[in-house]
Amino acid sequence: MNGHPIRVLVGKVGLDGHDRGAKVVAQAFRDAGMEVIYTGLRQTPEQIVEAALQEDVQVIGISILSGAHMQLLPLVVDLLRKQEGEDILVVAGGVIPKDDIPYLKEAGIAEVFTPGAPIKDIIEFLQCRFAQN
């Protein structure tokens, strides 16, 4: 971990107002020693990417429960690539059917955490990724 805390942007993409998961995860990240920025509701992929670049984060964690994940999540990765932000890891969480996950991973989402996923698994996932790099 070489002493630098992981910097994460937790964001809500799409129009749904379910922010319980996003906020609980953000708080758990902070308690695990990460630096956390939370965007609030109704962010567009453009706004998320702009905030991530501005805040110089290593990870974007997107929460989405509206069913618009197939359209909106790949957009985030595309926009990052276009703006030389492809080093930023994108993970997602929410009500996302299993069948949709392969497509999302192919589109560049590093991992998808679905309902019931323990937060410690998410934290371990990030810690592993950034310990290796």
Binding site: L15, G17, V24, L41, S66, G67, V95, P97, P115
Partner: protein
């Protein structure tokens, strides 16, 4: 209720019993510390000693009588069961209309419309922010034409319809009235509810548009207009459901909902409405969560607290103004994606708590809701679950069968006391609107949500299939998939309506609405006129956005 000497005798008996308990505990300690969702300790047994000054007439009375603890009607379910009302909507108006007619054929007794997010936030389907969202979490409604299709062949004088719509509630209510007019149903015959509860949107649900003050004006306009024109319509459904889903405790759910309700009553009275004119049409919406007895106590306490607030604080005279009538939905957040069939059992117990708590209508969640919108099969099982509760198991045979249980009465008293403490605190902050502006409710909910999650992660709170009794091999179940082409079809229809309607007329009604919004006049007549000219939801809300501005969320975490 017990004479003093009897109680002191009992107290002596309890002491000797506790000695025995201590001896047992030395050999066989209890499994864990027992507490409610709200965090309070649960005793091993409850007796009259837990209800020392308890007076039957003061605390309970008879069903249909003040303070309505036992129920809002004298005969409750012996007369008529609750309305079985399954929240549904997806895709286009045609698809949703088909689901409604299916549910009605299967014995459902009322409709409950789920709108998609662009509709809930006042955007037309062709707005850039609607991309990917059209028809996803509910049905897309852009113009009156969509509402006409949604209610096609459904007689509006025979079903009651609940619409989960808040910031643009006035527009959707106006569309419903316009459909009734076209069906030849008089306004006095239409029955239903709009959620119209903006305060909890700022706190927990997120589909706000306008700032609080302007939103409160719209709500009061609806109260006044509906009172005169559609007397059987419930003008608001003050909702704890989403506050609970966002992570609050049972006590917080009730306290914040009732504080919001107080704010609506005060706003309407300040606008010059008589309390007994609008209060009879206020309705409520609560969550039926996992702790069975705590939930029953919550529902009972809700009625008692509200009756006393309306009578003592607001001077209501009509009985109907004092009765808290409510819809219940089982707890979506308690459903698990793992072993989804187990959710059927969770929903059944939660539904039972709502019925024992005296609900007026009920939505039972489908087992697949942690994964997707309900499939037809899952929605049918959920409806059958309530039918079993209503028709088979005898819990509806007598009113408030848990009344008088030492535990339930002690819990009811405790919930009441804790809720009153919160209401006092919120009053001191300047009322619900101020408390929300200061982020008070949001912070309280956030803390409870985080504590809940930590309890799940530590295993202290057992969730079957998640942190206990997990089984690796999951049975696949068929999920509903919304056709991705729905969005294009909906945008196409909107385009056609825009081409067909009288453009000059639309410009005129929108200009009138604009002038109305700048004045202090009641906006409902303008909105009604606009929807009848086929002005779209996005156009109407666009005019109001222009005049009222938009709410900027305060991020509290």
């Amino acid at each position: 209720m017990q004479p003093r000497e009897k109680l002191s005798e009992l107290s002596g008996h309890k002491k000797s019993w506790q000695k025995k308990v201590r001896a047992v505990l030395e050999k066989y300690p209890e499994r864990k510390e027992f507490k409610l969702d709200s965090g309070y300790k649960v005793e091993g047994v409850y007796t009259p000693l837990d209800l020392p000054e308890w007076d039957y007439s003061d605390k309970l009375g008879f069903p249909g009588e003040f303070p309505y603890t036992r129920g809002v009607q004298p005969t409750m379910y012996r007369g008529r069961l609750w309305t079985m009302r399954q929240y549904a909507g997806f895709g286009t108006a045609e698809e949703t209309n088909r689901r409604y007619r299916y549910l009605l054929e299967q014995g459902q007794t009322g409709l409950s419309v789920a709108f998609d997010l662009p509709t809930q936030i006042g955007y037309d389907s062709d707005h850039p922010l609607a991309r990917g969202e059209i028809g996803k979490v509910g049905v897309a409604i852009d113009t009156l034409e969509d509402m006409e299709i949604l209610m096609n062949e459904i007689p509006l004088d025979q079903v009651s319809t609940s619409m989960t719509i808040n910031a643009p509630a006035a527009v959707l209510m106006a569309m419903y009235m316009a459909v009734a007019e076209k069906q030849g149903v008089p306004f006095t015959k239409i029955r239903g509810t709009i959620q119209n509860d903006i305060l909890k949107e700022y706190v927990a649900r997120g589909t706000y548009i306008f700032p609080p003050r302007e939103s409160m004006r719209l709500i009061v306009d609806i109260f006044a207009y509906a009172g005169k024109n559609i007397p059987s319509w419930n003008t608001i459904s003050i909702s704890g459901y989403h506050i609970r889903e966002a992570g609050s405790t049972a006590v917080q759910e009730l306290a914040f909902t009732l504080s919001n309700a107080i704010a609506y009553v005060e706003a309407a009275m300040e606008a010059g409405l008589n309390v007994d004119q609008f209060a009879p049409r206020l309705s409520f919406f609560f969550n039926a969560h996992v702790n069975f007895f705590e939930e029953v106590a919550k529902f009972r306490a809700a009625r008692r607290i509200w009756a006393r607030i309306m009578k003592n604080r607001f001077g209501a005279k009509k009985a109907r103004s004092m009765t808290l009538r409510f819809h219940t939905q089982t707890a979506g957040c308690s459903l698990t994606a793992q072993q989804p069939e187990v959710n059927i059992m969770r929903v059944a117990f939660q539904a039972l708590s709502a019925v024992l708590g005296g609900t007026q209508s009920l939505h039972t969640n489908s087992m697949d809701e942690a994964l997707a919108l309900p499939s037809e099969h899952a929605a049918l099982l959920a409806l059958r679950t309530q039918q079993v509760v209503g028709y088979e198991i005898g819990v509806t045979d007598t009113v408030d069968p848990l009344g008088g249980s030492y535990y339930v009465e002690a819990l009811t008293d405790q919930v009441e006391q804790e809720v009153m403490g919160y209401i006092k605190q919120i009053d001191e902050l300047g009322g619900a609107v101020a408390a929300i502006e200061q982020g008070f409710m949001q912070r309280e909910i956030q803390e409870s949500a985080y504590r809940y999650q930590r309890e799940v992660e530590s295993g202290e709170r057992v969730v079957i299939g998640v942190n206990r009794f997990a089984s690796g091999d999951e049975l696949p179940i068929d999920l509903l998939k919304v056709d991705p082409a729905v969005g294009e079809r909906q945008i196409e229809r909107l385009k056609k309506v825009r081409l067909r309607r009288d453009q000059g007329k639309v410009a005129e009604v929108l200009q009138e609405l604009r002038r109305g919004a700048q004045s202090k006049e009641n906006l409902m007549p303008y909105i009604f006129k606009a929807v009848k000219a086929y002005a779209s939801l996005g156009e109407i809300c666009g005019v109001l956005r222009e005049i009222f501005g938009e709410y900027k969320q305060q991020v509290v975490f």
